[in-house]
């Protein structure tokens, strides 16, 4: 009998479904089901993935949803259906009413005057919001069982109209409801029944609820009402293929299930309604109920033991085959004949109903919103005109190469029908140019000369020999994407523009699925399993990884937890050694994730008090409870966890929950723009951000649906450069036009070659700094390689070292096979670019252009191993047949290509980024003060914390001035300090000692300064802004700047009343030295602060800015000891995480000298050998590609140095390194070209070491310092 399961939850029911769509599909195929429906709660989140997986597996997908209704179908005076009296707890302030007029005005239609310029005619120009929009209210549903919520109903889409109804219904309910709590009413349901089939649902459906309550009449009336509702104009039909309402029969072996099935079957017979059997599936295998219970516990914020009836009472909600369902009691011989007949009928009907449902999720024809064009033009002819106009601007003269490339691209664009897409992007760029919003295209679009001449990208594809086919080719199954970076500070303006331009009905943000990662998994699973919170927190903090499957590795490595896994550690280490021998990647180049562990250890004694208490409190742990040998061999990823130790179970669930969706957030910049109203194509829901609507599909889904997505991204560097240019203009009255900046300023390349790149876009990371002195880029092309090379892809593909050696002339350029030479010549024989992968597929393995892009994409996304194997065979055979490679050569080539492709960079992307890197390097070199200010104000961005940026600026001779209420504005600014040697220069630097300039610092020569900068450029220093003080945020900006402009603060009272800052923030200001300009000692100010706050309490606001009439002057402070330098520094680090005057390591310098430690600056002139160092950790990296090696960037007052910890050193020193920021390192100095590296052999906390030789001990506050930068990179 063909059976299809029509009531099935995937893990996209968000914490109420324990299997991924793929797993359910695979199991359904295994069980021989003819179809499978996805009916997640209140949304269509998983349908695209599910439908794709089902189609690939040859299973009929049925798309549906299970909704929770807000009202009853027929009157419900007894409160059977809609439970009364449930306390409605709301979280946070209830936002009510309409939002402020500002945002409404922002989305209002543009004035008529601008219509003529080619604005699209919007279908409903009066509409600024989607229908049924209500402001958001959050509701806390933890601890609220299903029985206390509204009745359920399952809806399935029979056809395209049905899918549209589902989208509309889900969207409207979401917009009418609250975030993650859509509101489905019967009125809404009645408007959207076209093409839908309804099932009466589980035991929480209205009919089942009424039956269970004994309200047969009500149940009957409700069933009749539903039948009428879904029948529409047609009478309810007898045939399953056209019936629209079914009573659902379910049997989960609960005490009253026999009765409920019999009653429902009777009702069906009385009303002549068809029945269908479903199992309300929540997991694919019966063991999944354990995961399901854990998810329920997480959802309700309780531990398993406290869940009680919030757990599903049965463990039977797994996917069952027809014969398993037939074997249930209603199908048994002793069930009454009616029920047995209905049950058998219901199973048959399910298969038949599934067969009648068919939805095609291809929306190609709805792609474009219709871009209006001037009369007499088609979109294509208009695009052509714009391109030729643009070409005349970009190229002088226009060469024949340019013309032929342009003609070729336009030809492809015409045939693929993408003209409108380019016009949309062009229009967005036009808007940002008009508004002065920095913007530039990135990614594969930079391969296109059309994008270049339209001003979308800034990279000339002719000049860089880029491959247009990487962007668009006719064989490509999916659509090109244009990613545009905007200044992160102003991206929102662009998004608002797109909304207003195409209307909210046609525009939506793509969602981003937030899934479980290591820390969230450890925490939430830990709480659910009942581990004490402090222990869970400790474990979560001990993690380095983001991958929840790798949790075990981290915990085993950590001293505090290793004991729990004592049995496995040795075996794991042996296994790890074996896998290292094989390399980090397997045959197909995929990373070797140890996803399967033998997990039969018993746990062991822990060494932390919390763990010890925990375990002591559970005497029964692991004590022969489970004697069944079949159960004592647990599997980690599937199978029961019964019999595992608590710790094992914790890890097992962490591994299983990996990648489970938890909630939605807005994708960083994906915008969907469609022709048909979006609400007909995709389900919408509200985002957390006010007034923002997201599509329930993520970017992969959107691609599958063949819709057009624009990626509008925010890039901090563009904001930083924009601000830098603004500052240069206001400080030096000079305009730097980066578009006209020559590409060959030699000192910029000298600086890059010296790795003097803190703050420079893309090349500031540790790994970049380690390679720059070897690769020594000499022109922009070299810089493109540099940007592309330090990526996980090339590192894994073993490309970096060969390239660097060849670049330095240490080894000859060679090719795996002569046929590779034309493709790889520009990169000296190594694969660096995605374009090269395609070219290899084309010219070496004999793929067509279209196939080569498919090949590249498949390698990058790892859809399935089966697909990979197919491509692998095809590639190897192709290499042999077309070019006569040997088997080994072909396999090696495939391995290189595969290892690279998963992380690779498009050359076009690298070229676009290299240009920005070059520009930022130029600005850093010639305008260091302005550039650093730009970087500081664009934080968070880049690789280094602010402290490193200002220390670096100081080393380049820029004065850094401390935070001062009488000089600092909210943001960090530049301030005139005078040029070196001028009178007053020293005083302006506030007594700062001259900067220690390390030899690695490149400073432009006088001649080139004269050429590139105005004379005044060197006279500026950096005045740190008040925003750096913790507790001062954007909300204070306006007041602080206004008060600063009004005049200086003379007393503490004035500061308190005029700034209206809270007491603890003023205290921080005092401690940071920001009130030193009041002329009173800090201790005295702190003494008086409480009193002044008390006197002014209640007056701030009303009397702000008025002369104060205090009855009593503040009590004079007693004689207080002045602040020591150590205390001052500690305070400064505690409040600002930095100090303007000196780097913290300098106070340990005398002790370090006694220990014979070197300064970082002196390492450049030192030979290889043993070395001792003291420094502050500014970044710590644990790259996946480095096989367990850890890198620390250690800074002292003279510079930064890279410290490497090999895996064994890390295992030994992990505790110290994780807990301390100030470190004393003993190790060996290594040199390679100009690159200096210290291999650590021993690391101790610096303050302790310094104390032992009589140096300064721990300064207050230093503990907290530097941690801001510790988890970057």
């Amino acid at each position: 009998m063909a059976y299809a399961e029509l009531h099935c939850h995937t893990n996209f029911s968000f914490l109420d479904g324990a299997s991924e769509p793929d797993e359910l599909v695979a199991r359904a195929v295994e069980l021989g089901l003819s179809g499978l429906a996805v009916t997640d709660h209140g949304g269509l989140y998983g349908v695209v993935r599910f439908a794709t997986a089902a189609r690939e597996a040859g299973l009929r997908p049925v798309i549906g949803v299970e909704i929770e209704l807000a009202d009853a179908a027929v009157p419900d005076p007894a409160g059977v259906v809609i439970p009364v009296g449930r306390p409605r707890r709301r979280v946070g302030g209830a936002a009510s009413g309409r939002s402020p007029a500002g945002s409404a005005a922002g989305a209002a239609p543009l004035p008529d005057a601008r219509r003529g310029e080619g604005l699209p005619a919007r279908p409903r120009p009066d509409r600024t919001r989607l229908p049924d929009y209500r402001s958001s209210v959050k509701e806390d549903l933890r601890g609220v069982g299903e029985g206390q919520r509204g009745p359920h109903l399952v809806l399935l889409a029979r056809n395209a109209a049905g899918y549209r109804s589902l989208c509309r219904l889900v969207s409207r309910a979401n917009l009418a409801g609250t975030k993650s709590m859509p509101r489905f009413s019967h009125a809404l349901l009645a408007e959207n029944t076209d093409g839908l089939v309804a099932l009466s649902g589980c035991r929480e459906g209205e009919i089942a609820r009424r039956l269970r309550f004994g309200d047969r009449e009500g149940a009957r009336a409700a069933a009749e009402r539903y039948a009428r509702l879904f029948a529409g104009q047609h009478a309810q039909s007898d045939s399953v293929a056209s019936a629209t309402f079914f009573l659902e029969l379910q049997h989960h072996l609960l005490p009253d299930d026999d009765w409920l099935v019999a009653e429902t079957a009777r009702l069906a017979e009385e009303l002549s309604l068809p029945v269908v059997v479903g199992n309300d599936v929540h997991y694919a295998y019966s063991e999944g109920r354990e995961m399901q219970d854990v998810l329920s516990a997480i959802r309700h914020g309780r531990s398993l033991g406290e869940l009680r009836d919030l757990r599903r009472p049965d463990g039977e909600s797994f996917l069952k085959a027809a014969d398993e369902l037939m074997a249930l009691p209603p199908g048994n011989s002793d069930a009454d004949a009616h029920t047995a007949a209905a049950w058998a009928q219901g199973i048959g009907n399910a298969g038949e109903l599934a067969a009648s449902c068919s939805v095609d999720l291809g929306f190609e024809r709805y792609r474009f919103p219709g871009f209006p064009i001037p009369k007499g033009h088609t979109p294509f002819s208009y695009l052509e005109e714009l391109c030729h106009e643009g070409a005349r601007r970009r190229y002088h003269p226009i060469s024949s190469t340019v013309l032929s490339q342009l003609a070729h691209e336009l030809d492809v664009i015409e045939r693929t029908g993408l003209a409108e897409f380019f016009l949309i992007c062009w229009d967005i760029m036009r808007f940002s140019r008009e508004r002065g919003i920095p913007a530039q295209g990135r990614g594969s679009a930079a391969n296109s000369i059309v994008a270049y001449v339209l001003g979308i990208t800034r990279v000339d594809p002719i000049r860089h020999h880029l491959l247009f086919e990487r962007f668009i080719n006719e064989g490509r199954a999916s659509y090109p994407d244009i990613d545009i970076d905007f200044s992160s500070a102003r991206r929102e303006e662009v998004i608002q523009y797109v909304y207003s331009r195409y209307g909210p009905e046609h525009t939506g943000m793509v969602c981003n699925l937030v899934t479980y990662r290591a820390r969230s998994a450890v925490r939430e699973v830990g709480y659910a399993l009942g581990f004490p919170r402090p222990l869970v927190d400790r474990v979560a903090k001990a993690l380095e990884t983001y991958d929840s499957v790798m949790v075990r590795r981290d915990l085993e490595a950590d001293g505090g937890f290793g004991g729990f896994f004592a049995d496995t550690v040795d075996r794991e280490a042996a296994a790890a050694g074996a896998s290292n021998k094989r390399g980090l990647t397997d045959r197909t180049g995929r990373l070797n994730h140890p996803r399967h562990w033998a997990a039969d250890d018993k746990g062991g004694p822990g060494d932390s008090p919390a763990s010890a208490i925990r375990l002591a409190g559970r005497p029964g742990r692991g004590s022969g409870l489970h004697s069944n040998p079949a159960q004592s061999r647990p599997q980690t990823l599937r199978g029961s966890t019964v019999g595992m130790s608590e710790w094992e179970r914790w890890l097992a669930f962490c591994a299983r929950i990996d990648g489970f969706p938890r909630h939605l957030s807005i994708h960083s910049g994906g915008m969907l723009v469609t022709a048909a109203p979006l609400i007909d194509i995709a389900p919408l829901e509200r985002a957390t951000m006010a007034d923002r609507v997201v599509v329930q599909f993520d970017k992969r889904d959107v691609e599958t649906l063949k819709l057009i997505k624009l990626d509008l991204l925010g890039l901090g560097m563009l904001a930083a450069i924009d601000e830098t240019l603004g500052l240069i203009e206001s400080d030096c009255a000079a305009r730097v036009d980066l578009d006209r900046l020559p590409e060959d300023v030699p000192e910029v390349f000298e600086m890059l070659g010296a790795a003097d790149t803190v703050g420079v876009f893309q090349v500031e990371s540790r790994a970049q700094m380690q390679t720059l002195p070897k690769s020594k880029p000499a022109d922009l092309d070299d810089l493109v390689v540099e940007v592309a090379i330090i990526r996980p892809g090339p590192i894994q593909g073993n490309a970096v070292h060969p390239y660097l050696r060849r670049r330095q002339g240490l080894e000859p350029v060679s090719y795996l096979h002569p046929s590779l030479e034309p493709v790889l010549r520009e990169t000296l024989g190594v694969i660096l670019y995605q374009e090269q992968v395609m070219q290899i597929a084309i010219s070496v393995a004999g793929f067509s252009a279209g196939e080569s892009d498919g090949f590249r994409r498949a390698m990058g996304t790892w859809r399935s191993n089966k697909e990979m194997e197919k491509l692998h065979a095809r590639f190897v055979d192709g290499c042999r047949a077309a070019n006569g490679l040997t088997d080994e050569q072909a396999e090696e080539l495939f391995r290189q290509v595969a290892a690279f492709a998963s992380f690779g960079f498009a050359k076009s992307h690298a070229a676009a980024f290299a240009r920005t890197a070059y520009e930022s390097a130029f600005l850093k070199l010639f305008y260091p003060a302005q550039f650093t200010v730009g970087l500081i104000n664009a934080q968070p961005m880049g690789f280094y914390p602010v402290e490193v940026l200002i220390n670096d600026a100081k080393r380049h001779g820029v004065a850094v001035l401390q935070v001062d209420v009488n000089a600092s504005s909210y943001k960090t600014t530049t301030e005139w300090v005078g040029r070196d040697g001028e009178p007053g220069y020293e005083e302006a630097r506030h007594g700062q000692r001259p900067p220690v300039r390390s030899s690695g610092c490149i400073v432009p020569s006088a001649e080139s300064r004269a050429r590139w900068t105005p004379e005044s450029a060197t006279g500026f220093g950096i005045r740190l802004g008040l925003a750096l003080v913790k507790g001062i945020g954007d909300e204070h900006a306006e007041r602080l700047d206004a008060e600063l402009a009004r005049g200086p603060y003379a007393t503490l009272t004035e500061v308190v009343t005029r700034t209206e800052l809270p007491e603890e923030v003023i205290e921080r200001l005092i401690r940071a030295g920001a009130l030193d300009s009041l002329g009173r000692p800090r201790r005295e100010l702190l003494w008086q602060l409480r009193e002044v706050m008390g006197a002014t309490r209640g007056r701030t606001g009303r009397a702000a800015g008025q002369p104060m009439d205090l009855r009593l002057p503040p009590t004079p402070a007693p004689e207080l000891p002045p602040l020591t330098e150590r205390e001052r520094l500690g305070d400064s680090y505690a409040v600002l995480s930095l100090d303007a005057r000196r780097q913290v390591v300098s106070i340990f310098r005398p002790a370090l000298e006694r220990l014979g430690a070197a300064t970082n600056a002196s390492l450049a002139d030192r030979g290889p050998g043993p070395v001792r160092l003291g420094g502050l950790v500014v970044t710590r990296q644990h790259p996946m590609t480095a096989r367990g090696t850890v890198f620390l960037a250690l800074e002292d007052e003279t510079g930064m140095v890279n410290v490497t910890l090999w895996p064994d050193a890390w295992a030994r020193l992990r505790g110290v390194v994780r807990r301390h920021a100030l470190l004393y390192v003993e190790g060996t100095l290594q040199r390679e070209a100009a690159v200096v590296n210290v291999i650590a052999s021993d690391i101790k906390p610096l303050p302790a070491v310094a104390e032992s030789v009589g140096g300064p001990s721990h300064p207050e506050g230093v503990r907290a310092l530097g941690y801001s930068g510790m988890h970057r990179g």
């Binding site: 072996l253 609960l254 005490p255 299930d257 026999d258 109920r289 354990e290 219970d293 398993l304 033991g305 049965d314 463990g315 039977e316 009691p329 048994n332 011989s333 002793d334 399993l529 009942g530 029964g620 409870l625 489970h626 069944n628 029961s640 966890t641 019964v642 179970r649």
Partner: protein
């Protein structure tokens, strides 16, 4: 009057062709029974796993609650209604 049997004594059960009990023996008496209701319980798998199929059965003298322990396949008597 209900008797709750704390230690859930093991009992001998005769099974019918469909795997459901038709008679059980306890305290030296055997009685034919009919199943009135049945349900499955799976509990506390994270601490002391319980996996049982319960049967409410009626005989000539006894009304009883039996269960099959699915972990080891033994039958137990949990409750006896006089």
């Amino acid at each position: 009057m209900t008797r709750l049997l704390h230690e859930h004594p093991a009992i001998d059960v005769d099974l019918g062709s469909d795997g459901e009990p038709v008679a059980f023996r306890w305290n030296g008496r055997r009685e034919r029974i009919e199943v009135c209701n049945r349900w499955r319980v799976e509990e506390s798998w994270w601490s002391r796993p319980i996996a049982r199929d319960y049967f409410k059965v009626a005989g000539r003298n006894w009304l009883a609650l039996l269960y099959l322990d699915r972990a080891d396949g033994t039958w137990h008597l949990e409750r006896l209604y006089d």
